[in-house]
């Protein structure tokens, strides 16, 4: 047999036949799909193909959604026993599992993330959030928040484009379990899975108006934030918009949780398990194209192992499979939008200008769509923009340190504080570093691990409040204090 040294994987595309995308969508208000007035296109960022026309909600639509949510709250949902509410949540969770392939394919088409991630991470975790909170619905008095915790009323929820369905689950599941009704706005570029979720609500026979979904851009979001009929705002997105929301709700009675940006330090000590640390670096920054608020975007590397780790990291990056997100073997998909691609290019160019050394994995990028090769910058210092600003793309800034304290000082020297990673085989060092780091989520010898039972949220400019676990639940209950 002739020896051929190449093992080229033939294309293994997931079929899109399972989803049927309508040419035009409206809003989901009061249990029904209603027509929109103005529309804008939503595209597949991997091909720039127009997938559908999405309605842009104006004042009348948001008013109608809030009114439907209020009616459902007063007449049905707040009067229903927790046990009954829980049944609906369990039903939604099961339907999401049954239709998981449909959700995964649609998410990948609309968002650009690899099918492997939407199939193995986004959709199963979203269902898990509903299962977890379904369990809480009839046990609220045991959540440690007093004997009679009360819901807020109508929650206005605005979610980002990086994990469209998963962020919906993070918002809707606890709100419903706690007895609130919701008006949710998906991100402008990724509305399709939220609209499929609306179908799931119908299929689960969720009472009309408990979940309302209005689509649109920032102007729709502002209408929700400023609406007098809304009792609680929950937002996940940029720190810039988070600050606007905080200002807007400050003079009101609205309660608010914000989950904002990050610039997480991923600290590799010299006594780390190096191969797994390299995997953790890759998973930290290249998972979901780096469109992750808690991405490990600053690699803080002990000088004594820096050369070895960087060499291994480059070798590993060369094996990352970039391309068609629908291919089951793709590791890194498309950048979600042209706007985001331009932002990543702008900040990377700033890295070049400021004297950091750029290295990108050799890979062929498709001609159409929005793409950025996995990239690292070495020689980065704290004074570089790429060490301070959130790039929200597959770009890693590498800094080095000499002593453990220096690593902590650099890690904490940021206006953000969402997450951090520590890699060391020495338990005492891990525990010490965990106590020093000012970040809401700290992973030891792993990265980007999520679970509905675990509270998630930030320090400083990374946000207010927590999502997930008992802490996250408390944000949807009144008369109890939360961070």
């Amino acid at each position: 047999m002739e020896e051929k040294l190449s093992f080229e994987y033939a294309p293994a595309p997931e079929s899109r036949a399972i989803v049927s995308i309508k040419p035009k969508y409206g809003h989901f208000i009061g249990g029904k799909f209603v027509l929109g007035t103005k529309h804008f296109p939503t595209i597949n960022p991997a091909t720039e193909e127009v997938l559908s026309q999405i309605a842009l909600a104006g004042k009348a639509d948001v008013d109608a959604a809030v009114k439907a949510a209020r009616k459902a709250y007063t007449t049905t949902w707040s009067k229903m026993s927790g046990k009954e509410r829980g049944k609906y949540l369990f039903r939604i969770a099961r339907i999401m599992q049954e239709r998981s392939r449909e959700f995964a394919v649609l998410e990948t088409l609309d968002n650009g993330k690899p099918i492997r991630e939407s199939r193995d991470v986004d959709v199963p975790l979203a269902a898990a959030h509903f299962f977890y909170h379904a369990g809480w619905a009839d046990k609220l008095e045991y959540a440690g928040l007093g004997t009679t915790p009360k819901s807020h009323g109508v929650a206005g929820q605005i979610i980002p484009w990086n994990f469209p369905l998963l962020m919906l689950a993070w918002k809707v599941a606890p709100a419903l379990a706690a007895g609130n009704t919701v008006v949710l706005k998906p991100a402008e570029t990724t509305s399709l899975t939220a609209l499929l979720f609306a179908e799931v609500c119908q299929q689960a026979e969720l009472p009309a108006g408990v979940v309302n979904i209005v689509t649109g851009d920032g102007s729709t979001g502002a209408l929700i934030v400023n609406h007098p009929g809304i009792d609680k705002i929950a937002f996940t997105g940029s720190t810039e918009v988070g600050k606007l929301i905080a200002r807007a709700v400050a003079p009101t009675n609205k309660s608010v949780t914000l989950e904002l940006g990050g610039k997480a330090a991923n600290i590799i000590f010299e006594d780390a398990a190096i191969d797994e640390a390299v995997e953790g670096i890759v998973n930290g920054i290249f998972f979901n194209q780096g469109h992750v608020c808690c991405a490990g975007s600053r690699l803080i590397l002990q000088e004594s192992v820096a050369d070895e780790v960087l060499q291994k990291l480059k070798n590993r990056m060369a094996a990352i499979r970039v391309g068609d997100p629908m291919d089951k073997n793709t590791d890194l998909g498309a950048i979600n939008s042209k706007e985001q691609l331009l932002k990543i290019r702008e900040l990377s160019a700033a890295g070049d200008l400021e004297g950091a050394q750029r290295w990108s994995a050799p890979c062929d990028l498709p001609g159409k769509g929005f793409w950025f090769a996995p990239t690292i910058f070495t020689g980065v210092t704290q004074a570089h923009r790429i060490a301070r600003e959130e790039i929200f793309g597959p770009v890693l800034s590498v800094l080095t340190f000499r002593t453990p304290q220096e690593a902590i000082d650099k890690a904490n020297n940021t206006p953000f504080g969402l997450s951090a990673g520590i890699w060391s085989e020495k338990g005492s060092k891990v525990l010490w570093a965990t106590q020093q780091l000012r970040a809401g989520v700290i992973w030891a010898n792993t990265f980007n691990k999520f679970d509905p039972t675990s509270p998630f949220g930030g320090y400083k400019e990374s946000g207010w409040g927590r999502e997930g676990g008992r802490h996250g639940l408390s944000a949807y209950l009144k008369g109890v204090s939360h961070e």
């Binding site: 047999m1 040294l5 093992f7 994987y9 797994e276 640390a277 085989e425």
Partner: protein, 315 residues
Amino acid sequence: MSYYGLVDGTEASLKKYLASLSGVDQVGADARAAMLATRSIKAASKRWAIDTAISMVDLTTLEGADTPGKVQALCSKAVRPDPTDSSVPSVGAVCVYNDMVGIARTHLDLIGGEHVGVAAVSTAFPSGRASMPVKIQDTQDAIDAGASEIDMVIDRGAFLSGRYIEVFDEIVKIREVCGDKAHLKVIFETGELVTYDNVRKASFLAMAAGAHFIKTSTGKVAPAATAPVVLVMLEAVRDFYAMTKVRIGVKPAGGIRNTKDAIKQLVLVNETAGPEWLKPSLFRIGASALLNDLLMQRMKMDDGYYASPQYVTID
């Protein structure tokens, strides 16, 4: 005697060398292996993988009931796995007990199988519980009978009690016996070493002692060639190449029974050690039942349907 100048033969230098290795995080290694198991290998790449896997099989019979007739049948199968299709490559080697080596070599040569190696399990396989002179004689017998590959077992008792230098010295001595007549595969029995840290340590120890191949298991102990164990060994040969510019081979054995498992092994190789390792001189799969499943999958790709098992030969 030692190789590549990594260890000078003293216990102190061996300890220093082993202490320089980084640890393996079990959770992370398991996760990486599980992720690579999701690769979807289709069409032309699957066809290539099946033929490559066939050429990497060490077709094995290691039973107390082995007879010359059984071994000769195995040799025929090794040379022409599918007698009706000459495009099917021969396997890498046949793997037999010591006393069957001469029979296997003679029969292979008789039927045009000069290119198929004979691997002998050696050093008091599978337990390794014998004196050093016995182990040396065992190996010498196999080589004299025509073995081109020696699959030795390490003394797991010595390894687990920290007497690494004894394990090292044994490998060095057996390598000396092999000389330039036979390739040396060193079997760790990873199911008895248990931890991935131990697997990594054993890998580096064996490579510095002169192993040509490192091999997971005897096939007599479960678990055997699990994906994370093979991953850790592939990382070890990759790192050893970075240190020495010498490529050491890897042989998973035990538990790889169907085409899917074999293709997963090739994916592990491709994305861990790299495509340079995707050849029989650097990667072997110790197996018996696997070969027939590879043949049936190959027929299915050609014909579009699954044939009855009667269309592939039993050993």
